[in-house]
């Protein structure tokens, strides 16, 4: 990347914050409309009862839990990529970290609404909170749902702060260039940041500690979410592979979401000089690795199931392989592996467009994967008389569409209010590069003497 002056970087990356176009307003209006529809569907469900959804005996979890797992999984993008790349000191990460951390925070927030949306009596959701109730009873720590409560809240707090802390110097930057009310608002957000070495050093130390802390948290979160299924004696749920399978799947869907977000940002915010083909290449390679890993897990799980030939498990196995869920299953395999593979493995195809296409299919495929983990197993439990089906209603479909639109909406608003690329980190990377070049020149000059 051609070294840019600090001033140029500031101008380019602050440009999205000034002014909104008619196109943006229209897009936001449409997205907000769908979100409002989703909220209305939810309130209707609270009013009328969960009967308005497609849930039934024995499939008591359907679209809502699919969305829950999907969005929590997607949230592993940012913090994991951002944290891991920070610790590995991968210099190409600098324009990517905030895009990724934003995905994490918003996806996690969206995912965390579903434990409330899917409740039979959501107005009593506070029963999950450990507080000294007058009944003297506390929540049941033995339940994986309680582990969810602690894990998701820990992850949410960690990733929100991991996002907000490095935003403070950039808020200071906006504050200094703004006027009037805007200056006041960003002044408050900047916390009075002046940029002394002490502030910088403390900030970087804090970010380093949090990068180390957030990785085991992220791994634990999706392991715990997977244990919502693995702890129950349901055919093809009660398996030890669930925790690593889910964590790998989460990282997989997260990287795909990140690539998609970056591709869209690059196009609509004109960040062609900052989100470069090399970023998409590198992330594309990571996505390829995760795609192979995903395939490995699916293969290992299905081989052991098939070889073990336990009758209840085989029922679920065949219903996804050949039976009524097979169209979805094979679509998933196509979307997660067969279509992305050429786009990611062949260097010529591993372009921005190529990786974006692969990422799009992966997002679809991973949503289908969550659905196919939940519903076929619940439909075919041990007593054949109790087998059932599931079909979502408009309520579940609207709420699902609402979450995707909410994600896009939040992202669009965020990128207009905060620089989506961390300006100070980019500048720091630039001068580290020029410093390195200078040292190389110096040492070669010294060697020449």
């Amino acid at each position: 990347m051609a070294t840019k002056s600090a001033e140029q970087i500031t101008i380019d990356l602050l440009r999205p914050l000034s002014g909104i176009s008619g196109r943006w307003v229209f897009a936001v209006a449409v997205l907000a409309g769908v979100v409002v529809a989703a909220l209305s569907a939810f309130f209707y469900q609270v009013y009328a009862g969960l009967g308005v959804s497609g849930l039934r005996t024995p499939v008591f979890w359907g679209f809502y839990i699919t969305n829950f797992v999907f969005w929590i999984g997607l949230s592993h993008a940012g913090t994991l990529i951002s944290a891991i790349l920070r610790l590995a000191n991968a210099t190409w990460r600098r324009p990517v970290t905030r895009c990724a951390e934003v995905i994490t925070v918003f996806a996690l927030s969206i995912g965390a609404t579903f434990p409330i949306i899917h409740l039979g009596r959501p107005w009593l959701a506070f029963f999950l909170f450990p507080y000294p109730s007058e009944r003297g009873i506390w929540p049941n720590i033995r339940s994986p749902l309680l582990w969810d409560f602690f894990a998701i809240n820990t992850y949410l707090i960690s990733s929100v702060t991991f996002l907000l802390l490095p935003m403070v110097p950039d808020f200071a930057l906006v504050r200094d260039r703004a006027e009037g009310v805007k200056k006041k608002i960003y002044g408050v957000l900047a916390l009075g940041w002046t940029g002394t070495p002490k502030e910088w050093h403390r900030l970087e130390t804090a970010m380093h500690i949090m990068a180390i802390a957030v990785i085991p948290v992220a791994v634990s979160v999706h392991s715990i979410v997977s244990w919502d299924f693995a702890m129950a004696p349901v055919p093809m749920w009660h398996s030890t592979i669930f925790a690593p399978y889910f964590v790998a799947g989460a990282i997989f869907s997260g990287i795909a979401a990140l690539i998609l977000a970056m591709a869209l940002l690059r196009k609509f915010l004109h960040l062609e000089e900052y989100l470069l083909p090399i970023h998409f290449e590198n992330l594309g390679k990571l996505l390829l690795v995760m795609s192979l890993l995903w395939f490995y897990f699916v293969f290992a799980e299905r081989l052991t199931t098939w070889y073990g030939n336990e009758s209840s498990e085989m029922t679920v196995f065949w219903t996804t392989q050949h039976g009524s869920y097979s169209p979805l299953f094979w679509t998933m395999v196509f979307c997660n592996f067969l279509i992305p593979f050429p786009f990611l493995a062949i260097k010529k195809l591993r372009t921005i467009t190529g990786t974006a296409i692969a990422s799009f299919t992966v997002v679809i495929g991973m949503w289908l994967e969550r659905f196919l983990i939940i519903v076929p197993s619940l439909s075919h439990k041990y007593l054949t008389y109790s087998w059932g089906t599931y079909r979502p209603t408009w309520v579940e479909i609207t709420i699902t569409a609402g979450t995707f639109c909410a994600m896009a909406l939040l992202y669009m608003i965020f990128s207009k209010v905060v620089p989506i690329i961390s300006i100070w980190e980019l500048k720091a990377g630039q001068h580290l590069k020029t410093q390195a070049v200078r040292l190389v020149v110096k040492s070669s000059e010294a060697g020449a003497d």
């Binding site: 009328a48 009596r121 959501p122 049941n140 349901v234 619940l378 008389y385």
Partner: protein, 235 residues
């Protein structure tokens, strides 16, 4: 050790008449859900008669058995409930505390017998059926899980009566609604901790087997299948 309630079902006597299903609805204030909801398999039959057909006409055999909450000693529905709505009582029953239930439905997913039912809507009794509601049993609102309780209200009533009369409970004195209504007396209810009770006797019989016992749930219902059913297999 206190009472450990259990049941024995003699499948040789069961005719599949479903009187138990109707009696359970009447005793426990279980509403019917209507034709459309039943088609969506949302009916709340705490006890249901499962039917399995084998063979081609005219050589068809039908196996049927009543399935209801097995009050498992190692119930998978209990540890997963985040609010302790599903818990184990000291008398060996799986209790469902409606007031604690927030409707996560995890218990229903964990139950291998699929004997837990959810109130997808508020229950409705068309007049004049509302006059028939049992005052000893609560009415569950929308969003709450429910299931067979071994008619715990009758158990409690029997225990209270025996205590008031300062005597022990007699075997067969407490009968859940299904047991009481069974015309062939296929269902027996009693105290498994009393080796002389009828249910203990039947549990010791060579025909006695547990439904999905291999899952380790330690259910309290002993099924005595017909010998003609390939030995002691059921289902």
């Amino acid at each position: 050790m206190g009472h450990q309630w259990g049941m024995a079902i003699d499948l040789d006597r069961c005719t599949g008449c479903e009187a138990c299903v109707v009696a359970c609805h009447a005793e426990n204030n279980i509403s019917t859900v209507g034709e459309d909801q039943a088609a969506l398999s949302r009916a709340k039959h705490w006890i249901r008669v499962e039917r399995y057909y084998e063979g081609e006409f005219p050589d068809v055999t039908v196996k049927f058995m009543p399935v209801f909450c097995q009050q498992c000693d190692a119930a998978p529905c209990e540890p997963v409930c985040p609010t302790f709505a599903s818990y184990h009582t000291s008398e060996g029953l799986n209790g469902q505390v409606y007031n604690r239930c927030i409707g996560t439905r995890y218990c229903a997913n964990a139950c291998p017998y699929v004997v837990r039912y959810f109130n997808f809507y508020n229950p409705v009794w068309d007049k004049p059926l509302h006059l028939q509601l049992n005052p000893d049993v609560s009415v569950r609102e929308v969003g709450v899980m429910e299931k067979c309780t071994f008619c715990v209200q009758r158990i409690k009533a029997g225990e209270v009566q025996a205590e008031a009369e300062k005597r022990e409970l007699k075997d067969g004195e407490i009968q859940p609604a299904c047991v009481q209504s069974c015309p062939t007396r296929a269902m027996v209810f009693g105290d498994l901790s009393d080796p002389e009770s009828e249910v203990s006797r039947l549990a010791r019989s060579g025909r006695s087997t547990k439904l999905l016992g291999e899952l380790g749930t330690r259910p309290k219902v002993n099924y005595l299948p017909r010998d003609s059913w390939h030995g002691n297999e059921i289902g």
